[in-house]
């Protein structure tokens, strides 16, 4: 799903190659472009970073809605500054993963240091790629905290979209200088004037501050660089101070361990120094520091205000958590504010399609999560689906991309169950409070759902959603939002034709199919983005599914009271379609506690025998019967009812997988 856009998601990394067999010289064996270094870095001699005092440094990001041209602009900036050579092949140079190029999103942010001479001064411009999607709003905020300014790219044809709004506010709240850029002015339908007015109306930026460019053709791109130097203030920080470095990204390399991307807020760092993580309190010796051009290029030192990488014998990405502060051993500093551990917002079960694939999938998951500490992995098992995991993701796009990478990079096909969200319960039962050691618990598995008599309040996660749409769809969209229990917070015409809506959504109402519904009722024109908005009180209940009176553990769900009847009915209907008829009648029921809220009846077979069976076609028939006989092994028995694994898969898995 393309919830985000060309969002540089910060969890990923230079991926390990497929396996240990891959050539060590070429870490991304699956991506030839990355191997051959198609762009020239600035030679092998080490750059003396002390020649770049803070006054000559600019740290900035590019932020944009999906497909508005962020990566293309980055390509041009790299070319103009000589960071890479100018060839036709420079397409999304910083987007190296297959999934990135296919989907037009940046999964792995690649930062790059650019050298640029302007009015006789040599500048060091650090382009810090940031995730643009709110799944990664925390990562974005950490990346932005290493910047002093942003280039806000808006498509001259499409205008402001939902993600543009979300990005703008992130930058605005971080008090960064904003350089508005209107891209794709070469397109036939480009209407930069209209977009300038939108920007003025929504963001209060005077129209004459917008730079009209065509990143594709290079038009006015140089002007953008000049604005970066003029408008964005240099970082603050003093080399004489003790070391204070922010970890804003980390990646894993099979041969060198963790590579942490850092921004120095004070002091300097060099090989051989002993450093400490403020979060883990662990001590490391620095093996290597350097800058990214965009490949790692070692330097003697890095100084206050500069951005680069560090290798220090960290074995796992969890040791270099995004937002952590590094300081010199025995010279502790006040950690930079805002550090949080990754907090999964969407959970889904993941199972191998075939249990014999379990170990392969396990090793693929281990490799992929090496680079992505924000995915939480817990072993789980389901009587129907076998052994698997419950994975926690930062959001939907994160889940989607993770799954796609498993498929593309590890050739793993999996069953991914419909996503659920973490609910909370405020406990009132003294017994339960004692048992949990706290009065508020997070519920991920419906089996843990405490009944209402021991709870004073249930809570559900919410998000503030932004929708930008042509106005003709507004009625349908409002109806859709109301169906999803959303509360309208804002409605604003950003120009004569376009409306921005803001709604507070319960998260679970958008995790399954909201985006698809929105896209389909707006013919693809509406855009959507959301940000975390905390928890709210909710009338939650646990709904059980019964087959001939016996509960089916894996189908129990936590659901809002208002939605229980509709959801129960739908589940029963889907089960009726997927459970094969048997020799006896099967009652399929949805129940809340003892109360039955929906029922479907699956009638028994009265006749099930193939009409013609002679010599001719027996081979094919035997094949079918043997498969059915073998299927008995995989049947999940609920009481006397046999439920094939397929039925669970079809009921549990996400709609989009159909």
């Amino acid at each position: 799903m393309a919830l985000a856009g060309r969002a540089a998601l910060r969890w990923g990394a230079r991926l390990p190659s497929h396996g240990p067999a891959a050539a060590p010289l070429c870490r991304q064996a699956w991506l030839p472009a990355a191997c051959g270094r198609p762009y020239s870095s600035r030679g092998k001699e080490e750059i003396d970073m002390s020649t770049y005092p803070v006054e000559s440094i600019r740290n900035f990001s590019i932020i944009a809605h999906v497909d508005h041209g962020k990566s293309t602009l980055a390509d041009r900036l790299l070319e103009i500054t000589g960071t890479i050579s100018k060839t036709d092949r420079n397409k999304q140079v910083l987007d190296k993963l297959q999934v990135e190029r296919e989907r037009g999103i940046t999964v792995k942010a690649q930062s790059a240091s650019l050298f640029y001479s302007h009015e006789g001064i040599n500048y060091l411009l650090n382009l810090i790629d940031t995730p643009g999607h709110v799944d990664f709003s925390y990562e974005v905020s950490r990346s932005l905290s290493a910047c002093q300014g942003v280039i806000l790219v808006v498509d001259a044809n499409e205008g402001i979209q939902a993600q543009t709004v979300a990005n703008f506010y992130l930058a605005f709240e971080a008090q960064l200088s904003i350089i508005p850029v209107i891209n794709k002015i070469d397109l036939k339908n480009a209407d930069p004037e209209r977009v300038e007015k939108q920007i003025e109306k929504l963001f209060d930026i005077p129209t004459d501050e917008c730079i009209r460019i065509s990143a594709k053709q290079g038009t006015n791109v140089e002007k953008v660089l000049q604005k970066v130097i003029e408008k964005i203030p240099p970082p603050q920080g003093n080399t004489a101070d003790p070391l204070k470095a922010l970890v804003f990204d980390s990646t894993f390399d099979h041969y060198r361990g963790v590579i942490a991307n850092i921004a120095l807020f004070g002091g300097e760092i060099a090989k051989g120094q002993k450093i400490v993580s403020a979060h883990t309190k662990k001590r490391y010796e620095v093996h290597e520091v350097g800058i990214l051009t965009p490949n790692e290029q070692p330097t003697h030192k890095l100084y206050a205000g500069q951005v680069g990488y560090l290798i220090a014998g960290m074995k796992e990405v969890t040791e270099a958590q995004i937002g952590d502060t590094l300081f010199l051993y025995k010279q502790p500093v006040e950690p930079l504010p805002g550090f949080k551990s990754a907090k999964p917002m969407v959970f889904a079960g993941m199972y191998p399609i075939d249990q014999t694939e379990y170990n392969n999938l396990k090793s693929a998951l281990e490799r992929l999560t090496l680079n992505d500490s924000s995915v939480t992995v817990h072993r789980d098992s389901s009587l129907a689906l076998g052994a698997g995991w419950r994975l926690g993701f930062l959001g939907l796009l994160h889940m989607e991309v993770f799954n796609q990478r498993l498929e593309q990079e590890y050739n793993m096909s999996v069953i991914l169950t419909a996503p659920t969200v973490p609910y909370k319960a405020v406990l009132s039962s003294a017994k339960l409070i004692k048992e949990y050691g706290k009065d508020q618990i997070t519920i991920i598995n419906p089996a843990q759902f405490p009944d209402k008599f021991s709870v004073s309040e249930y809570l559900e996660p919410t998000v503030l959603g932004t929708i930008v749409t042509p106005h003709e769809y507004i009625g349908k969209i409002i109806t859709l939002c109301q169906d999803r229990r959303a509360v309208q917070k804002d409605l604003l015409y950003i120009d004569e034709n376009r409306v921005m809506l803001k709604y507070l959504f319960p998260l679970n109402e958008i995790v399954v199919d909201f985006y698809d519904a929105l896209k389909s009722l707006s013919s693809g024109y509406a855009s959507f983005d959301y940000e975390d908005a905390g928890y709210q009180s909710a009338d939650l209940i646990k709904m059980d599914i019964l087959l001939n009176g016996n509960p089916v553990e894996e189908l129990a769900t936590i659901i809002h009271n208002d939605k229980a009847y509709a959801a129960g009915k739908l589940l029963c209907e889907r089960l009726k379609e997927t459970i094969p008829r048997q020799l006896f009648e099967i009652a399929i029921q949805a129940a809340i506690g003892k109360k039955i809220i929906a029922r479907e009846t699956l009638k028994p077979y009265r006749k099930n025998v193939v009409a013609k069976c002679y010599g001719g076609d027996i081979t094919r028939r035997m094949k079918l019967l043997r498969r059915q006989a073998e299927g008995k092994r995989l049947m999940r028995k609920i009481g006397n009812v046999e439920v094939p694994r397929d039925a669970f898969i079809r009921v549990l898995k996400r709609e989009t997988d159909k």
Binding site: L583, V609, K612, C613, G615, G616, I618, L625, A629
Partner: protein, 440 residues
Amino acid sequence: TPCPQWPYCRKRCSYCNFNTYVVPAVDEAAVRSCLVREAQTLLRLSQVHRWVHRVGSGGVLGPSCPPAASHPLPHSVTSVFFGGGTPSLASPGTIAAVLEAVAGAAHLPAGAEVTLEANPSSTSASALDGFRAAGVNRLSIGVQVRGALPAAAAAAPRGPIVTVLPPQSLDDAELRMLGREHTAAEALKAVEAARGLFPGRTSIDLLFGLPGQSRDAWAQGLEATLRVCDDHISLYQLTLERGTALAAQVRDGALPAPPQDLLADMYQTARSVLVAAGFRHYEVSNFARKGALSTHNLSYWQAEQYIGVGPGAHGRFVLRAEGGCSREARVQTLEPVAWMREVQSQGHGTRSRAVLSPLEQLEELLTLGLRTDEGITHKRWGHFSPQLSLQAVFGEPGEARALQQEGWLVLDNGGLRCTWAGLAVLDSLLPDLLWQLQRV
């Protein structure tokens, strides 16, 4: 038992997915010589004349070779079945040539059942007379011409039988929907003509569960059938086969899909009506009175040996001539032109051969045998499984025991068989039984 295939039809019926071909002109002489040649080759390979056979025992079927010639009866072909396509479109001369070839390569007793599937529109009295003269002695008349039917089965000289193809329906509108060429009146005439020539040995086929067919229409059709029928009726629930015109019409909503409950009602009605009329319900879809069971088809359900001749025909037999003692599943090349080329160059057009393992043979025996009212006798089971008795496999606690307790199955001195209720849901019982068998 050879089962020669005539793969050609004048027109493709809307429900048929058999291996049939509608071509402007058939080179009958070439097809005939290939059928003859292939029948000769396969009979030689099977060495039918040396089959050691006791009546009803099913010949040499066990996983191990029987002691040589303990019953040195001469071995013979028990039945011949001409299927299709529409074999009644072939000339009587072709039928005669094939029968002569069979008789030349193996013993074909005078009483052996020789069935011809026939289509009402190609069964004039004179044509039928010609077929009778050629050696056909049983006719199966239907609207529907079926694909590959095998040939020789065990020797049971109970007199020959000809099957004329199924007449599916005696209603013109229904016949049009099925894409049949003939009308109800033609079908009736054909049945009359056939009964005149093959008294007591004319079978008719009826289809039920046609899209839009009502319970009443079916009951009336049954009554009409009882007024004209002979002593054998096959009645088939219409199967909407993938790739057929009828299935496409139902899928697209142009025709209604018959409800499951209605189909079950139709089947139960027919069973009751026919049994009341003196018919024995001897197989899921087959009814006979006065002992007019189809020897040939029984041989399939009893897992005996049969030889498939012609494009796309299937066979199950032991290749004695090659010193084999294992039952093989053989399929002949599907496409007629390719099949003919192969027969001309190597004597037969066998496209695939697979030795059936003892377990596979037992699986087939269960699947086929339980379709009959007699079920699987201890004796027949013992031929395939000398070591493990029926009792040892299915008498222990497990699926079969549960199915017996629920009233679907019976295991007693007579063997293993379905109850009246169980027969109608056999396909729901089989996976359980096969699963239990596989675990033994």
